[in-house]
Symmetry: C2
Subunit: 244 residues, 2 copies
């Protein structure tokens, strides 16, 4: 089994120049799976091609998605970059630590994702709800705003600098292989639906908040396929009890 290359996902990027700079930085450090969620100026984008210095011609064409969940459906572990600290119960780490962690996960066969928000606003809480962990780049507190292309560069650079993790861990994973994102997403949707039927949510605003918290809780648990099946079973059992 060949190990999947990590994906860089730009969520609602605004400037083509930054997409091009990101592609160039990825190629500089041996990465080539670029995904774009709803790029503001559409795709293809001439400014991106110009800025990439040929990188966009050399790498596979970026995959374009309408929504973030579609873009990460086939992946296992999602790191989100944020400039501001958020009030989220997710593990937060600096770039170097994140890349060592990511190398270990990849050595186990996990498909890794790094996601980046739009230039002006960064990732929304709704986006961050999909992430397992937060990457924080330590910067000068008086001038902390990193350019999007620069942020991609730093992660790609540290990815290469982290070298290769020992891959023999892969052999010992047994049935604890993590569930892919699309299966987790399906579980959360099912859960939300069941909770709705049970009048669990007081109103729509509370519902969004509550579901983010629930996602955060389960993502921290790094659920395996087997565990996810167990959770589905638990939900089914509980519903069965209720309707009896």
């Amino acid at each position: 089994m060949s190990l999947p290359s990590p994906a860089m996902i730009l969520v609602r990027p605004q400037m083509g120049e930054n997409i091009g700079a990101a592609a160039r930085a990825m190629m500089n450090f041996g990465l080539h799976d670029l995904r774009l969620v709803s790029p503001r100026d559409g795709w293809p984008n001439q400014a991106a091609i110009d800025m990439s210095s040929g990188a966009l011609d050399l790498m596979p064409a970026p995959q374009i998605f309408n929504t973030l969940p579609e873009s990460i459906a086939d992946t296992h572990y999602i790191y989100a970059t944020t400039a501001r600290r958020r009030d989220m119960t997710k593990p937060a780490m600096d770039v170097r630590t994140a890349m060592e962690d990511a190398k270990q996960r990849r050595a186990q066969g996990q498909h890794i994702v790094f996601m980046f928000g739009p230039e002006r606003t960064g990732l929304e809480n709704e986006d961050l709800a999909h992430a397992h962990a937060i990457i924080h780049v330590p910067t000068n507190p008086d001038f902390s705003s990193l350019n999007l292309g620069q942020c991609v560069l730093l992660l790609a650079y540290e990815w290469m600098a982290a070298g290769e993790a020992p891959s023999d861990i892969f052999l010992d994973m047994g049935d604890s292989f993590p569930a892919p994102h699309k299966d987790l997403d399906a579980f959360f949707k099912r859960l939300e639906n069941e909770l709705d039927q049970g009048r669990f949510f007081k109103d729509d605003h509370l519902r969004a908040n509550m579901m983010r918290n629930i996602r955060a809780l389960f993502l921290r648990a790094d659920l395996s396929d087997q565990e996810l099946r167990t959770l589905h079973g638990i939900v089914s059992a509980l519903i069965g009890n209720k309707t009896q």
Copy 2:
């Protein structure tokens, strides 16, 4: 004594955008001594200001120089960035190692410089002759060309990541404090002149090569003020012998 902030020197930069990106990256990681040697489009440069996202308004105005030696006259230790490996007898290191080395030197009170070449060509051998050490950024061999602003960012990021070196070494330096670049330059010019008088050089091409090699040799030695005075004494003594 407050420790000098390291300088970033862009040698003959072409694109204002890259100067602005460099300034922004410097401010992101707490650096503010930007120097420009003969920028192609002059200075000030609106594209640089736009690209800096306010960094150029917040940091001291960049110093502009006509020549590289002027720009480094007040400094002690010069690191040059190159994409290609050069056939030079200078220590070469990766960015992280260079920054640990630089932090140690700064803790001793040395004024550190990082220099970067023009976008298309990189630093000339003539520029590299002034450097004590070479910084090499490991990149994908199939796509190795780093954007100038990105290269400045990586160094600034690793500068901040290196933290603070213990500064008590400074107290033990005695009279072995390194000679500033302008004194070294004056010595090399005197030496070249004296060698010329002695018909040391066969022709002008060989002269340039030979002087680069001589510079490299003495720069590796990390000469102190005292040692430089000694070398001047040696040259004077040799001349004296010859003319007697």
